[in-house]
Amino acid sequence: MSAAKKTPAAAVVSAALFVTTLFTGTFATRAAADDAPVKIGFVTTLTTPAGVIGADMKNAVELALEHLGGKMAGREVRVFFEDDAFKPEIGRQKTGKLIKRERVDFVAGYIWSHVLLASAKTVFDADKFLISANAGPSQLAGKGCHQNFFSTSWQNDQTPMALGEVLNRRGVKSLYVMLPNYAAGKNMLAGVERTFRGRVVGRDMTKWGRDRQLDFSAELAKAAASGADGLFIFYPGSAGGAFLKQYQQAGLKDRLPLYSVFTVDSLSLPRLQAAGIEGVLGSNSTMFWAPDLDNAANKKFVADFKARHGNYPSFYAAQSYDSVMLIDSALRATGGDLRDRDAVRAALRRADFASVRGDFRFGNNHFPVQNFYLREVVEDADGNWTTRITDLVYRGHQDPYAADCAR
């Protein structure tokens, strides 16, 4: 067989490649003295259309580091960004790389619930700290809560719970729901159903993931025919833009008012504005934060972010910024010493830092106990579309799974 003739060449080349990878790693990972840099791994989505979220998060992390002068408790900080490509398996793989090769002390980031769930075990097994800067699946908030897990975002159910409360206050009696078919989508549904006292007259779970559905014509026609008082949606990332356009084109703005969570944000608004989707102006959403939230940390964050990148930071950015600040607070508390895990954990739990959302404290499950606001889409003084806080929905709200967390 002529194929056999090629095998040695192939073996030599692959062996050479393998050895190269080995050595590049070996030298990078020696020595972990106290003056060595603090290593933080940050897993997010940098490719695929969702890469726009990851880029925003990355910008925020870099801004946070700049605000900290590149140091935490006098130690240099190195952040390793890894791309999960929107796939749980890749996310898990990259998490393993951060822990086993880069030997990071903290792993932060994670946009998607399923990526976080797939990766968590790797971090916990190595007794490292996992700080979610977005995903907040119920599994990690309730029975599956872990002492090394912290969230600088929210538990999935909270934001839609706040929205359900808004719907009640506005006297909405019947609701149509459209959500993507994945963990967070189901949590959003569960959340709004926890507090909404009216009737959910129809629900559509659309295809999500790699070949997600972006044409919502069939569902919008059903929603319009349902006669509901309101339409509740959750479409993070670029799917939100697609949905809102079709919502406008279907002429539903007046017949079926829109209530959303995590859909209308600083990432989608500039593009919606460019495409002239006026229908989104005045639409309502709930959130723990908004760019106009009035506190010193937030003003500095938003102003510097805008100065550097030209657009408002998204809530993803705000959470990512906080995740770095949280780590910094722990290092400050321990004097830069990471060897005593219990001390670091205790310091993290105290969350002694100035969050962009104002008051910040962790509940027993290490999810924030925080305020939730109602936001409206408006045009700012410069003519850019943004969100503005119009009402406080919950003060110091804790997620419903916290009670199940017994550590």
Binding site: A4, T7, T21, K87, Q93, S113, L117, A118, A183, R210
Partner: protein, 319 residues
């Protein structure tokens, strides 16, 4: 001239090619056998992971090589069997059943059953139709798994405890590695026997000239179906290991892009070459690892490199 040519071709099988090949096998086997503890005890777990993943994918690629290289059946749906194998671990584990023997039995039998049922339909078609109908069946399975809420749908299942055999816990990275290594060695040996046995020869005949084989009285369909089922079952074992290795299963594991990646591994290593899948899987993973470290836009380089490898076809594949 003609005589000289003939003499050359007569000589060809006896060229030192085979001996070179054999000479490379022993050092390679020794390396794969001895390197892991070294990596593990020097704290280079990451490279142990990379090696484990390479060998698991090599098993999958080997099973595809059986199909493509021996049987001439180009399947673009082979990731389905990885999924079946992985879910054979994930679903029982979800119910608290961690018996490895059961997992493995499920992985093999379900893969074989799926291969039998779909193969019976797929093999009625040829060429482009075959490629695309195998793809269609794997997509069907993909969407079935996405639709089952009880098993996590799109989000998949987290495997909290790996399969355990009496006296053998896959939990330990080295144990898992050596199990994978042993399985790969076993399959390589089996594949070698098969290629030279009657079944392998008949398959090769059907690959190159189906009409001739039928006219000789061979039931090409049944031989190819048997090959298809065998290949699926072996790939199910790869899935079993991959599920254990990742501690997680999700429908994304049987995405069609994974099937294409497996095909790449086969063709990079040389379709039909015994050790090709191992070389292909290693090259594929190491390239991906190296390139993704260079730039975020590594797919550009990766895609170009893969195209070059296939188009040139001279580095690793036969001409």
């Amino acid at each position: 001239m003609n005589g000289a040519l003939r003499a050359f071709f007569k000589l060809r099988p006896k060229l030192p090619a085979k001996m070179f090949g054999r000479r490379a096998v022993l050092p390679a086997a020794a390396l794969l056998l001895l390197a892991p503890p070294l990596l593990f005890f020097t704290g280079q777990d990451f490279y142990l992971d990379l090696l484990t993943r390479a060998l698991i994918l090599a098993i999958a690629a080997l099973s595809l090589n059986l199909l493509v290289g021996c049987g001439g059946m180009v399947s673009l749906g082979h990731a389905a069997y990885i999924g079946i194998g992985a879910y054979s671990v994930g679903i029982p584990a979800h119910y608290g059943v961690h018996d490895g023997a059961l997992h493995l039995a499920l992985a093999v039998s379900l893969s074989a059953a799926f291969a039998f049922l779909t193969g019976a339909v797929c093999l009625r078609t040829r060429g482009l139709y075959f490629i695309l109908i195998t793809l269609a069946f794997s997509q069907m399975l993909y969407f079935t798994l996405v639709s089952i809420d009880a098993y996590g749908a799109d989000d998949g299942l987290v495997i909290t405890r790996r399969s355990s055999f009496p006296g053998l816990q896959l939990e330990h990275a080295l144990v898992l590695y050596y199990c994978v290594f042993a399985a790969l060695a076993l399959f390589l040996f089996g594949m070698r026997r098969l290629m030279h046995a009657r079944f392998g020869r008949v398959l090769l005949g059907c690959r190159h000239n189906r009409a001739r084989m039928r006219a000789l009285g061979f039931d090409a369909y049944r031989h190819q179906l048997a090959c298809y089922v065998l290949s699926g079952a072996v790939c199910g074992v790869a899935g079993f290991f991959l599920g254990n290795f990742t501690d997680f299963v999700s429908p994304a594991m049987l995405d069609w892009t994974r099937s294409a990646e497996l095909l790449f591994m086969v063709i990079i290593g040389g379709a039909g070459a015994l050790f090709g899948p191992l070389v292909g899987a290693a090259v594929f993973l190491v390239l991906a690892e190296l390139l993704s470290g260079i730039t975020l836009h590594w797919h550009l380089l990766f895609g170009a490199l893969l195209i070059a490898l296939v188009l040139r076809g001279q580095l690793f594949t036969r001409g």
